[in-house]
């Protein structure tokens, strides 16, 4: 039986963590993630969880402690945002390379500078090549559901990679929404017990963790990581199906919202997808064939689902909430171009940069994207012809 709750995105994440009750949670506060760990610390202080909470002096230490605990065989979680993620970067890469299934909610916030605490995707997009799986969430419900699924995805023996569950700072993290949560027993049965393949504490079977790895084997270990990430596609789908059976809510690599016959499709991720769905509904009511392709898993990138989701599109608008300085377009745009290259799919693709530093994106903005797409269909758009939404000219 579902429990209907009214929570902020941060509290929804903390609720999922309460039910998971990881062995170890490492923590350093940063806006807008702070309330998430604040809430979880309440659960620890109130004795509602058994988790060992490790308070450290920086995010670099938070991820280092997470790596240490995970190497010891513990189920480990931490959380961060923006500059905190940037500070832990070195160890973020090591967590993936050491194949430690750490799950980390990341509350998306613009990287400094100039200093800004509001949402964009520069933090997580910047570490898209660190070897972490990245699941983007549209709302508090998806934050909760993605975190519960992330545990099983990360710990799958064919994957064994850490997972970031991202959600938009303030827009999701501090907004109260209604969501359905599992019963505690359902959730604890769902995540089950984690048994690490190797542990530092097993003196019967001693092993060396994180040794020097030079020209002779480093390349082989990277190839294994590629395989783990490739396997994650199937695991994300199968975990999504199992979770649908449990919760009634379906999850895949992407969500295709009225794309099947759509002439004009917007591609986006995060909370903007909720806004875009409203516009799609309105324009559909006016008889316009428009749709939204939402990317849930950015790493691994769902090439096959993207191609299928864009099959009917005459023009595509790709929304990027971060810059790839010096590149023709944003990170999402480049992936869409790559996914469609070689498929023979003739379509006009326009890149829109929006929402940096928390700049609002409105229903009207997204409607204007669809209206522009109607005018560009059939035209060749150079990859560097980036449009800016909501920027003063």
């Amino acid at each position: 039986m579902a429990r209907r709750l009214t929570l902020t995105g941060n509290d929804a994440a903390a609720e999922a963590m309460r039910q998971i009750d990881p062995d170890v949670v490492t923590c350093f506060p940063i806006t807008p993630q702070t309330e998430l760990m604040h809430k979880f610390a309440d659960f620890v202080a109130d004795g509602e969880v058994k988790a060992e909470m490790v308070l450290v002096e920086s995010e670099h230490s938070a991820m280092s402690a997470a790596v240490g605990a995970a190497s010891a065989g513990a189920r480990v979680m931490t959380a961060t945002s923006a500059n905190g993620l940037a500070l832990m970067w070195e160890i973020v890469y090591i967590a993936a390379s050491n194949r430690l299934p750490i799950v980390m909610p990341v509350v998306n916030r613009a990287l400094s500078g100039p200093i800004n605490i509001h949402c964009d995707h520069s933090d997580t997009m910047g570490c898209r090549d660190t070897g972490w799986i990245q699941l983007y969430s549209e709302n508090a419900q998806e934050v909760y559901d993605n975190i519960l699924q992330a545990i099983l995805i990360a710990e799958n023996p064919d994957v064994l990679l850490p997972v970031m569950v991202t959600f938009d700072g303030f827009i999701i993290s501090h907004t109260v929404e209604v969501l359905d949560a599992l019963e505690d027993k359902e959730a604890s049965d769902w995540v089950g017990e984690y048994k690490a393949m190797y542990t530092l504490l097993d003196t019967e079977k001693p092993a060396t963790f994180g040794p020097l790895d030079l020209q002779d084997y480093y390349f082989e270990h990277k190839r294994q990581q590629i395989e783990g990430m490739s396997n994650a596609t199937g695991v994300i789908k199968s975990v999504g199906k199992a979770y649908e059976k449990l919760s009634g809510r379906a999850y895949g690599m992407t969500e295709r919202y009225m794309t099947d016959d759509a002439d004009y499709v917007v591609v986006a991720l995060g909370s903007t997808c909720g806004t875009a769905k409203v516009v799609v509904d309105e324009m559909r009511a006016e008889g316009k064939r428009v749709g939204l392709l939402k990317i849930r898993s950015f790493r691994p990138f769902p090439h096959a689902e993207i191609v299928a989701g864009l099959a009917s599109a005459k023009a595509i608008g790709v929304l990027d909430r971060s810059v790839s300085f010096g590149a023709p377009g944003g990170p999402v745009h480049k992936e869409i171009l790559a996914a469609l290259s070689g498929t023979g799919h003739q379509t006009s693709i326009v890149n829109y940069l929006y929402g940096l530093g928390g700049r609002d994106i409105s229903l009207d903005h997204i409607r204007s994207v669809f209206e522009e797409l109607e005018t560009v269909a059939g035209k060749t758009i150079a990859p560097n012809e980036v449009r800016f939404i909501g920027l003063r000219g």
């Binding site: 390379s97 092993a207 060396t208 963790f209 994180g210 002779d216 082989e220 270990h221 294994q224």
Partner: protein, 100 residues
């Protein structure tokens, strides 16, 4: 060391066999080679205590030589050797090889 494919090795750089550093020869990393003078050595074993690569070879509690297959040439042994004794000297590897 046999070189195995990426499908045959443990993930994440894990080494499952304890104490196998012995089979990984690091001697070729050396720039300076410690040269031991058996006549001067008083067998205080300060070098043996300090060597980070267990490359000071002992027999019956006395130094008998240096394991050049593993010594990385860090020079700690020569530094720790008492000044009055100076039984260990660091020599450029190229000079040591030429002298041989």
């Amino acid at each position: 060391m046999s070189e195995r494919s990426w499908k045959e090795i443990p993930i994440g750089g894990i080494i499952e066999e304890a104490g196998n550093a012995d089979s990984y020869e690091t001697g070729s990393w050396r720039t300076y080679r410690p040269i031991w003078d058996a006549e001067k050595c008083i067998h205080c074993l300060a070098c043996w205590i300090a060597c980070p690569d267990s490359s000071i070879l002992l027999e019956d509690g006395k130094m008998v030589g240096i394991d050049y297959a593993h010594c990385k040439g860090c020079g700690i042994c020569a530094f720790e050797c008492p000044d009055k004794i100076s039984a260990l000297e660091m020599v450029l590897e190229t000079d040591a090889a030429a002298a041989k």
